[in-house]
Symmetry: C2
Subunit: 500 residues, 2 copies
């Protein structure tokens, strides 16, 4: 994948700050310019949220975090950047002024994306010297989790620019979707605006309150749309007869009196007060920070679930996540939070840093039994990658399979707990690896669980064990030899219930 080498963020509010977080967590340095006196605090908060979410989202090894520099001017910020993201307030004159400054100071080949929700790129690039590299890259909140960026070119934007933008978004876990023609508000906000208007009428006319309206969405088509969108969902509704049949059925109701959309509701004080009061009744028991945290945890859970979709190949946003992880693993190495970037063989390998996500806990808020084994499984996967058993290796038909596992639970982990794991090789030969992993509480270094495991090298098509290739065995032997000097961990060789 083509990567961004240096990013500049002009504007550091909720949107600009979250773009910065996307870049930084993908290992890209960011220059930030925002004249707001609290910009650094705001960006810091968004980044903290993003880091928390990423720790739950993926166990793939994030690269060392990029460095953020707060700059004193647009000129200083765009220096050396090959991707510049403009996220200043939604006023055309302001944006034109900022884009003119960017255009003058940036490298002529640098890509310039605008986060505008609705302004036309042709208007934004009007006064530019190099308008061909300017486009709209419209993201959705929270930008650090939702993968979409609508890519919209203006009259002077080159096709290569949109193509290049799309390629550069993939390595930061985003999906650039190219919109064919520019219109105000593009595609997503047009759809949202349509629902918003109708929703306002429903509240205005007392058909329902805000909570009922939200329940209607989230208990029904919200979950359909999270994975397939609208047209593919309706294709299924049409059944074997297909889309023509569906359209024939659904078409007539366009002229039925089902919507009030021919009118624009007057959002006067009375309606604003009504909505605000209903919203307080619905969600007021929780603060915005709490709602934000719950939203992020739910999004993480939904994306992880979709990663298993289509028989494990990934579906929708889960497929984007799977591709992002594949890219991260290909970049290789142990996880960013890990203490050694290259393994120090004189100690157990520190391999996984993670955090207990909402989907991992039971209704008491404790990490569920099988999630410990998930972390142990990711730990052994990390070992395998260290010895050269990666995606390409497994796809080529060979792998190590776990055949035996012994787990001891020594402590408890709760929602949000940061964890890390270590692994010590006990023995290995040409087919087998026996090893001992430990999951630690990252704050107290207390051991929460241990696992002794045995893996066997297999030809996965033939379904039988075979010796691993020499280059894998050589890497494995080096670690095994170094670990032979370590004392045997307490608990090795136990059977269940054995007296100490």
């Amino acid at each position: 994948m083509t990567s961004i080498s240096q990013a500049a963020c002009i504007g550091g509010g909720v949107i600009g700050g979250a773009w910065a977080a996307r870049f930084l967590l993908a290992g890209i340095d960011v220059n930030m310019f925002d004249p707001h006196p609290e910009a650094e605090r705001i960006v810091g908060e968004v980044l903290a949220n993003a880091e928390r979410a990423y720790a739950m989202l993926t166990m793939a090894p994030l690269p060392p975090k990029g460095k953020i520099t707060f700059c004193k001017s647009v000129e200083e910020a765009v220096e050396g950047a090959d991707w510049i993201q403009e996220s200043v307030p939604e006023r055309l004159e302001l944006k034109l002024d900022v884009i003119t400054q960017i255009d003058a100071a940036a490298h002529p080949k640098a890509l310039i994306g605008s986060s505008t929700s609705g302004l036309m790129p042709t208007d934004l690039q009007r006064d530019m010297k190099h308008p061909e590299r300017m486009f709209v890259a419209h993201p959705y909140n929270p930008v650090y989790l939702l993968p979409l960026a609508e890519l919209v070119g203006g009259q002077k934007t080159s096709a290569e620019t949109l193509k290049a933008a799309q390629e550069k978004l993939a390595p930061i876990g985003m999906k650039g979707v190219i919109i064919k023609k520019e219109i105000e508000a593009f595609v997503g906000d047009r759809l949202l605006e349509a629902v918003w208007r109708e929703g306002l009428w429903l509240i205005h006319d007392d058909i329902c309150d805000t909570e009922t309206l939200d329940d209607v969405i989230r208990y029904s088509f919200g979950m359909r749309w999270a994975q397939m969108g609208m047209f593919e969902t309706y294709r299924i509704a049409g059944g074997e007869a297909g889309m023509h049949h569906f359209l024939a059925q659904f078409g007539p109701c366009l002229s039925w009196p089902w919507t009030k959309l021919t009118d624009v509701v007057d959002l006067d004080d009375a309606l604003v007060d009504k909505i605000a009061a209903q919203s307080d009744a619905q969600s007021g028991a929780r603060g915005i920070r709490e709602l934000e945290r719950i939203r992020d945890e739910n999004l993480v859970g939904i994306m992880q679930a979709l990663k298993g979709g289509d028989a494990g190949r990934g579906w929708g946003a889960g497929k984007i996540l799977a591709e992002f992880e594949k890219h991260l693993w290909a970049q290789g190495g142990v996880r960013s939070g890990a203490k050694q970037a290259t393994p120090d063989h004189a100690a157990p390998l520190r391999l996984i840093d993670t955090q207990v996500s909402a989907a991992w806990v039971d209704y008491n808020g404790h990490m569920t039994e099988h999630r410990y084994l998930q972390v142990f499984g990711d730990t052994s996967d990390a070992l395998l990658r260290l010895i050269g058993v990666d995606f390409a290796y497994v796809e080529a038909g060979q792998s190590y399979y776990t055949v035996e596992t012994h787990i001891r639970h020594l402590g408890e982990a709760r929602l949000g707990q940061r964890l890390y794991s270590t692994l010590q090789i006990l023995a290995s030969d040409e087919k087998r690896i026996r090893f001992f992993s430990t999951i630690f509480n990252a704050e107290t270094d207390e051991a929460l669980a241990t696992a002794e495991q045995l893996m066997l090298h297999v030809d996965s098509k033939a379904g039988k064990s075979i010796p691993a290739p020499t280059e894998v065995l050589a890497r494995l032997a080096a670690i095994t030899e170094a670990h032979a000097e370590l004392p045997l961990p307490e608990g090795v060789g136990r059977s269940v219930g054995q007296k100490r």
Copy 2:
């Protein structure tokens, strides 16, 4: 919860059939009337999909499946029913005719729900003798998974009827949301219609194709709406300043030229052909049955993820699922598919029947390591319930915790594989249970994995082990004694890598 004792479904298409599946899987007998010659086949197919989805959705013990009877008339079908669901085609005259027949033959206290997507309940109840018990119960496809039913009363519907309907939907895993005032298309279809119109314009005007539009939805607000809906999402966008602030910001764009909704698009042959062709390009590589399967697997994954939301308490549709499972467990017993309804102590207990879901497999389509432990965990949970350690018990502050587990992998399971598990108690005393579980391929009875585990009875607040109460120990001792006659399973007492 107040349960339905006997249901009648009038109309057995995709919607009526899925209502029948909801009732049957919740243990309720259904009388079905549909004059369509293929009704029995169609209902059978929907029921098969629903059973497949439920097997992945929950390991809670479903009651013995209800009995479905295909009847020759409306009169015969409604006899003895306390919930009658009308799902005939969307033509007022036809519905009036069918509802008149139902009204005449049904018990005067029976609830009568209509599945109409848009007709007004006041019109539907016009000619009824007992109109006060008639209402709209509008579900969403797939009805067997999506929990929403919009409950809408007409002028003659009593408030008690809507309340009773809401209560009776909970034990079948659905959420009845009461809409305050009747309007055509109610709430959900109004919102959908608004997006649909705008979407048609976007395709008509070549702003994007159907795939791009779907990607825009599913990579962004689709995932927001799956969990929170629209108003709660925007409340967060408003930040600490709250809903007033958000509305002040967002309000003005209602009058911007962001939507074409003041016009109604002409869905002529050219537009229909265009949409159908784009949809074929987008999704045509997969058949409708495959898309349906993927949709259901994704919905299952999303709902399971949301079940972990809000620190394990459940969120949105995941909370509805958690409540449904709690109800199923409270009804108790071992799972419906299990061979013995009461445990036969002369053999290992058969406790869990399940199926490998999409979220359980890796990208090779194999069941992931830690999902085996998930099934073993559910197996030991089922044992605990048998000896009286249920939700109420755990909430009161005591429980059994797993302290040690030894797993052997003997075979592989793939996506969709049906599994069952058995459990044999090896030893128990006042604090401890040591037991041996096996996961089997349900088609071949081949053992895929075994687990030897040790659980300890604890005071969960004090965080220390204490003896279990006598009534629990009595039930446990009865099983332990019976299992003492069984031979020790092969593999008991092994440590990892031990020679056989």
